[in-house]
């Protein structure tokens, strides 16, 4: 293994270097170490270095204790499960506990794919229990942890409702046959505009380059969404085997529009503020956000999937490698793939519901949402939505570096 490198003679320095140099550094250790002020770097480096070590091989088999231990720990993103403000509980989760006898510790621990990965990677690598039995990560990161062997294979026989997964989400390249993951929620990246300020509307990504919109465009800083849309505009099948040339060509378009000032800013979630303040009139956005923004701001914007296609992303439920409660996790997954339950969640989170039959079930909850194409997409919308293909580690690094440099950081 490549970490059998030479270590310094001095035992103290050696201990230090060893602590830092576990084959893969966890983000937290490195972040601390290299922060400009460096505070706490050593502590962080020592604190999280322990897991990486020599045990990079296949994870030790875990004995499933689900039968004797009716608990379940679930790490999810914020605002991603139906929540009752009055009782301060998650109604569907309460119902699950009552029905199954399993107590669920639900935590909103995932605040970013990269940051979460950095937090748990060392333990996953060592095959340790990270304290979660289900974690929820976006496609590309799900692909990474599955590829690295950090997840357990699901026993689909225990999840009969998994057959309710939308057909379009069943065949994903990062997890063929859905053996390790099931979709929690999905959404599109597409284009949106302010209906009052730009009545003309948008049809394709190239409409964003209209001189009338100069300096009033924002695009997402999520590489796969922005680059995905730009490449689709070029006629590239982003799920297929495209390479450097296609990527660089689309990147040139992005760079040119940033340099000319057409694109005002490249942003993450904070683009919403620019839409609300009026600084941005149009841009590349996420569908669920638009539903929420329109709900709170009198329906000011319109969202479409560009003619050439938009990206479809999903967050996926997976069982991390060290979890001894896979059977409990499978029960929960099975529960949420019931159409009635999925509809209850969808009514709250406003993203695409990945469960067949939830639309019909929505009738009892809120019939007005049945017609919302951003929650229950029409066939033709789904046909236009594409999943960005998985990237090899080398590609990922080089594309991310190029994208970051194009957006000026």
């Amino acid at each position: 293994m490549s970490h059998s490198h030479k270590t310094p003679q001095d035992p103290q320095i050696r201990a230090l270097v060893n602590a830092m140099s576990q084959r893969s550094l966890s983000r937290r250790s490195v972040l601390g170490a290299a922060g400009a002020l460096g505070l706490g770097g050593l502590l962080a480096a020592c604190g999280t270095g322990g897991g990486g070590g020599a045990t990079a091989g296949p994870a030790p088999a875990v004995t499933d204790v689900s039968a004797s231990d009716p608990t379940l720990n679930w790490a999810n993103w914020t605002l991603y499960l139906d929540y009752d403000d009055k009782s301060k509980t998650y109604p569907t989760l309460e119902a699950f506990s009552k029905q199954s006898g399993i107590t669920v510790n639900y935590s909103e621990d995932v605040d970013g794919n990269d940051t979460y990965y950095g937090k748990v990677q060392a333990q996953l690598k060592a095959g340790q229990d990270i304290g979660q039995d289900i974690f929820t990560l976006t496609d590309w990161m799900a692909g990474r942890v599955i590829r690295q062997g950090y997840t357990q294979a699901l026993d689909l026989a225990n999840i009969p409702n998994s057959s309710n997964l939308l057909p379009s989400l069943q065949g994903v390249d990062f997890d063929p046959g859905r053996e390790h993951s099931l979709t929690w929620q999905s959404g599109y990246a597409g284009i949106a505009w302010n209906k009052a300020k730009y009545p003309k509307g948008l049809k394709s990504v190239s409409d964003l380059w209209d001189p009338a919109l100069k300096g009033r465009i924002t695009v997402l800083d999520e590489m796969r969404d922005t680059m995905g849309l730009l490449m689709l505009q070029d006629g590239v099948d982003i799920s297929g085997q495209w390479g450097q040339d296609e990527f660089q060509k689309a990147l040139e378009v992005l760079r040119a529009n940033i340099d000319s000032g057409q694109i005002r800013q490249v942003k993450g979630n904070s683009y919403k503020e620019d839409f609300i303040s009026g600084d941005a009139i149009a841009g590349i956005v996420w569908s669920g956000d638009l539903v929420q923004m329109n709900f709170e701001n009198d329906d000011q914007w319109e969202f479409v999937i560009p003619e050439a296609g938009g990206t479809l992303w999903s967050d996926n439920l997976m069982v991390p490698v060290g979890s001894p409660r896979k059977a409990n996790a499978e029960k929960l997954m099975d529960y949420y793939f019931q159409p009635e339950i999925a509809a209850q969640v969808a009514a709250y989170v406003n993203f695409i519901c990945p469960v067949t039959g939830a639309k019909e079930a929505m009738e009892k909850i809120d019939p007005s949402l049945m017609k919302n194409p951003l929650i229950f997409p029409a066939e033709e919308d789904l046909a236009k939505a594409h999943v960005f293909r998985s990237l090899e580690a080398d590609e990922e690094s080089s594309f991310a570096a190029d994208f970051q440099s194009a957006i000026g950081a």
């Binding site: 601390g32 000032g261 800013q265």
Partner: protein
């Protein structure tokens, strides 16, 4: 303590008890300094070593994302410097402008509160609280507020467009102007407070004497007030410049993606987006050393004895 140590050459003239007492005092000094040294070693010296080591790590062939092994890759520095020297220069340039602006704005404020309002303690107190008040709310929130104040549809941008200072399709946010303004605003208290503390000790009788000797107010300001407040200005400029140069909140929130990126933003993105730990560490180290060099030159040139 310094006195006793400097006298140690005379030890043979003193009794053994005296010598013992002195040694004990010396040791007490070391004990007192030890916690400070330990904290410095643990939280400053070691992280710097770790940072330096990390900046030289290499990516092994076929590595997973975020996988690096110890090495001695000086090339990391070349790579990031050749790619990001404009951002580095821009950071210092923005920080310099912000520091000068903060001085021009902050000095009169400090002077007003510390000297002019000396006879009115109540008003002085209120103004002082107002100066510090921004610290009571979050740095991010205040910067975010500026985005709203300078927004295209906001009053300021509309007014400037009305009087044609700003072209009709121009905007204030997402410009270098907004970033420098944000830096100036956010670090202004760091400029005002040291100058205030310094001017608070200004002996106004000197100004009266100058007046008696027919010095114009301008003359006495430049010959008395300004030189006497030099240590405050010196501390204020350092406290403003150093954090401003490494800041990335202002450029991230108020800037664009073209001509406002500062080095802190680059370091952040190398870490979290590109996952290039050695590159980010190298940039951090370069930033640290550059600031150290700039500050050393500044201290050598303008530093006063009082500060050293």
């Amino acid at each position: 303590m310094t006195q006793t140590i400097s006298k140690s050459g005379l030890s043979d003239l003193r009794s053994k008890d005296e010598i013992r007492a002195e040694r004990r005092k010396g040791r007490t000094g070391i004990y007192l300094v030890a916690p400070g040294l330990l904290v410095l070693a643990l939280f400053f010296a070691l992280p710097v070593v770790v940072l330096l080591a990390m900046s030289l790590y290499v990516k092994p062939p076929g590595a997973e994302i975020g996988e690096f092994v110890p090495g001695f890759e000086i090339g990391n520095y070349m790579t990031v410097l050749s790619a990001y020297w404009p951002e580095l220069l821009r950071s210092f340039w923005f920080a310099l402008i912000a520091t000068v602006l903060a001085l021009l704005i902050g000095f009169p404020m400090a002077y007003l509160v510390a000297v002019r309002l000396r006879e009115k303690p109540l008003l002085q107190g209120i103004l002082l609280v107002l100066l510090i008040a921004p610290f009571f709310s979050s740095f991010i929130l205040r910067t975010q507020a500026w985005k709203q104040i300078l927004a295209d549809e906001g009053f300021i941008a509309q007014a400037l467009k009305f009087v044609a200072i700003l072209p009709a399709d121009g905007h204030l946010t997402a410009t270098p102007f907004a970033v420098v303004a944000g830096l100036t605003y956010n670090f202004l208290p760091f400029m005002v407070l040291p100058i205030y503390a310094n001017l608070g000790r200004l002996d106004t009788r000197l100004l009266e004497a100058a007046g008696d000797l027919y010095a114009s107010p301008m003359n006495s300001f430049f010959r008395i007030t300004l030189p006497m407040s030099a240590p405050g200005i010196f501390a204020g400029t350092l406290l403003t410049f150093i954090p401003a140069a490494g800041d990335y909140v202002n450029s991230a929130l108020l800037g664009n993606n073209r001509n406002t990126t500062m080095i802190g933003q680059v370091i952040d993105s190398r870490f979290f987006k590109v996952i290039d730990y050695p590159g980010a560490a190298a940039l951090s180290f370069v930033l640290m050393v550059s600031i150290l060099v700039l500050v050393t030159i500044y201290i050598r040139r303008f530093g006063t004895k009082e500060l050293m």
